[in-house]
Amino acid sequence: MEKEIFEHHLNTNRRHFLGKMALGFGGVALGSLLMPDLLSSKQAVEEQLPLGLKHFAAKAKRIILLVQNGAPSQLESFDYKPKLNDMFGQDLPPSVRGDQKLTGMTAGQKTFPLVGSKFGFKQYGKAGTWVSDLFPNIAKITDDICVIKSMHTDAINHDPALTFMQTGAQVGNRPSIGSWFSYGLGSENKNLPAYCVLLSKGKGNGQGVYSKLWSNGFLDSSHQGVQLSASEDPILYLNNPDGMDRKTRRTMLDHLASMNQLGYDEFGDPEIPAKIKQYEMAYRMQTAVPEITDVSKEPDHIKKMYGPDCMVPGTYAANCLLARKLSESGVRFVQLYHQGWDQHSNLVGEMKGQAKDVDMASAALITDLKQRGLLDETLVIWSGEFGRTNYCQGKLTKDNYGRDHHPRCFSIFMAGGGVKSGISYGKTDELGYNITENPVHIHDLHATIMHLMGLDHEKLTYKHLGRRFRLTDVHGHVVNDILA
């Protein structure tokens, strides 16, 4: 026996050695089959969870996103920096600016004179939240909101920044955040779209909004945002044309559906059932929409609360009231855009007007949801796409100034839907240029919003062009500290 073992050892020549190596590699190869992502650093996405259900129990059922389009200045709203007033006119130290890219508008500027808020700040509520005098009504509800002062983003210009905020990517063609919720959770009220969009315009310097911002991207088209217009017909072409009654419409739709079904049976295009579904929903919307858009039945003091402008269609106040009605009726995601926040110059004058447009109605929306017992299940978010610089763009005078785009920090607030109320989260340095504590990236905000709605941002995926896409792409951390 020993001889055989000995011989075996002696016989270990190059050929044996190579043979053994091959065996060894075989063992490694077999093991590597158990590694789903051998070459990538991330774990593979787990199997798709069922759609239309929350991934875990969560309070929030609906979202109202109040987009302040153009980027309101954090320094005149929530981020109080008295140091800037002390340093009026002094140049921004290059060490603070670091390697921050500038926009084409101030890149040529020789100096960057610091300028503080022309408007006063006071502390409000139990937590002593700082709010500027421009927002007296929001100041009254600070105990119901969570101000995040440490938001930051990647983009420095409006369109990419807004697209980023809306879709989680700076380039277009990705589904908008509302579409993701429509896809992940479905519609609560099947007589209304899951995702509605309302537009309004302030008098300040404005930036355009385009329908790509509420596009369904690669998701099927039933998830795209439906824009409600300010006219007598909030949803265009919804009413039956003259000479067609509801019964005829029904018969017409039934025939159309059967023909579409034939088309689907033959080609299997998933857009066809989406289309059938949309026709059906539009039919039911014919009765559901008038019930909702009629604000005449709202009690008088509600109109006082939102401000009398809420009776003028197309204003921010009217849209806030409509947003409440839509949300109350089970629209999963209502999105408002209020244009006119791009104060490169004449900030003092324009900001006053803009704040006047939104302050009362934004606060009223939150109070109104609260008194109906709906604030717990509705998440309200007030946000621009980025912040504004702490230095003046253009000519600095004692009474007026302008501010350029600033992606490194900005302030937003959230309310309801399982968010901690009455707190301020995150801090910026004393010059309001860099974040010093608890930064929240747009991806983190998305992850947090999804978490509040009971969705795991890493698990809600859609396979397109051979890879699985998420709203947060490969990023995003839930900001646990602001969860109630």
């Binding site: 026996m1 020993e2 055989e4 073992i5 000995f6 075996h8 043979g19 053994k20 060894g24 075989g26 063992g27 490694v28 077999l30 093991g31 590597s32 158990l34 590694m35 992502d37 051998l38 593979a44 969870l49 259900l53 929350k54 991934h55 875990f56 129990a57 969560a58 519609s187 609560e188 009220n189 099947k190 007589n191 059906e280 039911r284 009765t287 559901a288 019930e291 005449s296 009690p299 008088d300 003091h301 109109k303 006082k304 009398p308 402008d309 009776m311 003028v312 109350e328 009726s329 089970g330 009223a364 109070t367 109104d368 609260k370 008194q371 109906r372 017992g373 009971g454 646990n480 500290d481």
Partner: protein, 703 residues
């Protein structure tokens, strides 16, 4: 036998490389479901190596009694078998462990197993060196004893072996357990002690017991009583994740906000390791924190006694007007919302009888409910959240809700309930939130409710300040058309109910004494080209609106058809010049000059041909409404011509108006071209833009 030896050796080599790979890349591995049964065979297979190793020890102890040649044969063959079964059992065990067993015991068991596997393989390789072989054999045997013990601990619990003797019961946590033992120590155990224990003690720190913690580590004390800011433990936790000094290090499980908050509050309170929940007084921040976030949280982990509902039934219950959805995939609780006031039928609610037990959330807002509906709601025993805003519920109907003993949140905003509802509401003892905004309850009623329901928050909502007055918005015009014929009627409107609109037709400012708008106003142009309506809105408790002014223009003679030869230049304007010029609506140039409502022309002129061949009226004036903007310094029009014809081929010039150097170009909004009365069938209007100018036109009138 001889022949099979090389095969055996090769297989063993292969399996050990495989095992080594699994061990090194363990954290990257994921076990596909079809491989899991293999892992689960570990408990079956492991008995072979246990027995074989024991047998080998016996064999070696009694080798003197055995014939040496057969001993060698048996021993070597047994060794190969042992190594083979050991490595297989280890690989399977490793696969099984990846299914998610995390414990100290697991780690010990795993490494001992891996150790034995390689030790036995080393015995195979060093078989000829008897000394090494012997040492390895007895070490392996010791390993088997301990590894086996820990493995048994994993399946049966670590106290299993000695329990009958020691009888040590695990202490239950109650309000008298020290907070340190109940909450703080478990956090440290979960997040810190894997590195800071007596064996490993990184940074010379051991966090497993109070004495060791008091000793501190190489950087000093772990915490300072009453001083969370200066406490090293919290400082390290608070550092950014990227920081070298941050604890637990990046990659390890981090502490949650709730845990940090608790430790902070506990240190702030004095880091007393003996104090218990019961000993704290109710004002204390630490006690409140525990009550709010820890005790409530534990209770909030909704464990429902009822069963899951078949997903098919849930699917069937969903309809366009009713949404029925499970709270989450792991919860049997169901949330229901019913929508659509005009389509509502009582069955929408009563169909829910099939899931009576599971409904915990029900939203019936805005529905026309009768008292019977609430009787049904009363049968939903596990209902936690009910929304009845703006429904027709009556006081008496609320009696049914007393049966909902789990109801926590009730919204009654906008209902007509009053004082009489209190006697039912106060019986719903489980209530935590009650929303009674916009009901008939008075302030006194609400304070009574607050007294009757001490555990609940009563939300009475926004109460307007009666002193605060706001301006109404101005009245609006219904419909957009602002060109009329004498005798046409127009309507005014307002989104607010109960306003009175007063108006004037003589361009004076309206006031409280002006004509009250009751129904459509009949417009009499009285030979004028336009008529102005000024209106103002009034309402009690509101300040009057601003005056709104609506100007109506004489529509004149409407052509049977209108065509425009060149569409002009397109931008916001999309080229429908003929429709724009003839759409009965005159748009204000100050607002709409660059919009789709203004047709624009520059290189090619505006050429509009109006067809009056059927009506054939007398025409003596054409007005081109082109609008102009304030501050315009130069006329945008070179000339305007009007031609007539009866066959669209031979045109006669009726009039040409030269406007190149007009005196006030900023007032050039209505270009009127008068000519001797004509009854031609066709008229051609030519508007030639000025050089380098754009002519924008909105409406074309014939009088």
């Amino acid at each position: 036998m001889k022949k099979s030896v090389p095969y055996f050796l090769n297989t063993l080599f292969f399996l050990h490389i495989f095992l080594a790979f699994l061990v090194v890349f363990e954290s990257y591995l994921e076990i596909p479901f079809w491989l899991q049964p293999l892992g689960r065979m570990h408990p079956l297979l492991l008995h072979f190596p246990v027995a074989f190793i024991a047998l080998m020890v016996l064999l070696n102890l009694f080798r003197k009694q055995i014939d040496p040649a057969s001993f060698e044969k048996i021993n070597y063959f047994l060794l190969l078998l042992t190594s083979f079964t050991t490595v297989l059992a280890t690989i399977m065990g490793l696969l099984l462990s990846l299914e998610g067993y995390e414990s100290e015991l697991m780690t010990l068991h795993k490494w001992i197993g891996i150790g034995i596997s390689f030790a036995v393989y080393a015995m195979v390789l060093t078989y000829l060196h008897k000394k090494v072989y012997q040492i390895l054999l007895y070490t392996s045997f010791v390993g088997v004893v301990f590894g086996g013990h820990f493995g048994a601990g994993l399946t049966h619990g670590s106290h299993f072996l000695m329990e009958p003797i020691t009888g040590a019961a695990v202490k239950k946590i109650d309000e008298n357990t020290p907070i340190y033992t109940a909450y703080v120590a478990p956090i440290l155990k979960a997040k810190c002690t894997s590195c800071h224990n007596p064996q490993k003690s990184k940074g010379e720190l051991d966090l497993t017991n109070v004495e060791a913690i008091t000793r501190g580590g190489e950087n000093g004390e772990v915490w300072l009583a009453h001083n969370p800011e200066e406490s090293l433990l919290l400082q390290r936790i608070a550092l950014p994740l990227e920081d070298e000094e941050h604890m637990p290090p990046d990659g390890k499980t981090q502490l949650t906000g709730r845990e940090i908050e608790l430790i902070e509050s506990w240190i702030d309170h004095g880091a007393d390791t003996e104090i218990s929940y019961a000993q704290l007084n109710s004002e204390d921040g630490l006690k409140q924190l525990l009550t709010e976030k820890w005790l409530k949280g534990d209770r909030g982990k909704e464990v429902y006694a009822f069963d899951f509902v078949d997903t098919k039934l849930i699917g069937d219950l969903n309809s366009p007007y009713r949404t029925v959805v499970q709270k989450s995939p792991t919860s049997p609780a169901i949330e229901v919302a019913i929508y659509g006031r005009s389509s509502y039928q009582a069955e929408f609610l009563t169909d829910l009888a099939k899931i009576k037990e599971q409904v915990i959330y029900l939203n019936l807002a805005n529905l026309p409910l009768d008292d019977n509906s609430l009787k049904f709601v009363g049968e939903l025993k596990n209902l936690e959240h009910l929304v009845l805003n703006f429904t027709e519920v009556t006081n008496e109907a609320l009696a049914a809700l007393v049966a909902n003993t789990k109801l926590q949140s009730l919204s009654l905003a906008g209902t007509s309930i009053d004082r009489a509802a209190i006697k039912y509401l106060k019986e719903i003892k489980s209530l935590k939130e009650l929303f009674v905004w916009n009901t008939q309850l008075t302030d006194a009623d609400i304070s009574q409710l607050v007294k009757e329901l001490p555990g609940a928050t009563i939300n009475e909502g926004y109460i307007p300040d009666p002193e605060e007055k706001m301006n109404l918005t101005p009245p609006t015009l219904i419909g957009e058309r602002n060109t009329i014929n004498s005798g046409d009627r127009i309507s005014l409107g307002h989104k607010m109910n109960g306003v009175s609109i007063r108006y004037t037709l003589d361009e004076t400012e309206p006031n409280e004494k002006s004509e009250l708008y009751e129904s459509e106003i009949t417009m009499d142009l009285q030979g004028e080209r336009s008529k102005t309506v000024k209106a103002i809105a009034y309402k009690d408790n509101w300040l009057p609106s601003k005056v709104s002014t609506f100007v109506f223009y004489d529509k004149g003679l409407v052509p049977d058809g209108l065509e425009v030869v060149h569409p002009g230049i397109l931008s916001a304007y999309t080229g429908e010049a003929a429709r724009i010029l003839n759409d009965d609506t005159k748009y204000d140039a100050n607002t709409y000059y660059y919009s789709k409502f203004y047709a624009s022309f520059n290189s090619k002129p505006l050429i509009a041909i109006a067809d009056f061949s059927a009506s054939n009226p007398k025409i003596k004036e054409v007005v081109l409404s082109c609008g102009s903007r304030k501050g315009a310094k130069k006329s945008s029009v070179m000339y305007v011509e009007v031609w007539s014809s009866n066959n669209k081929e031979n045109w006669t010039l009726l009039k040409k108006l030269n406007l190149t150097n007009v005196a006030n170009p900023d007032k050039l909004s209505e270009i009127s071209i008068k000519f001797p009365e004509s009854t031609a069938k066709y008229y051609k209007v030519v508007g030639q833009p000025n050089t380098k100018s754009t002519l924008r036109v909105n409406q074309l009138f014939f009088y």
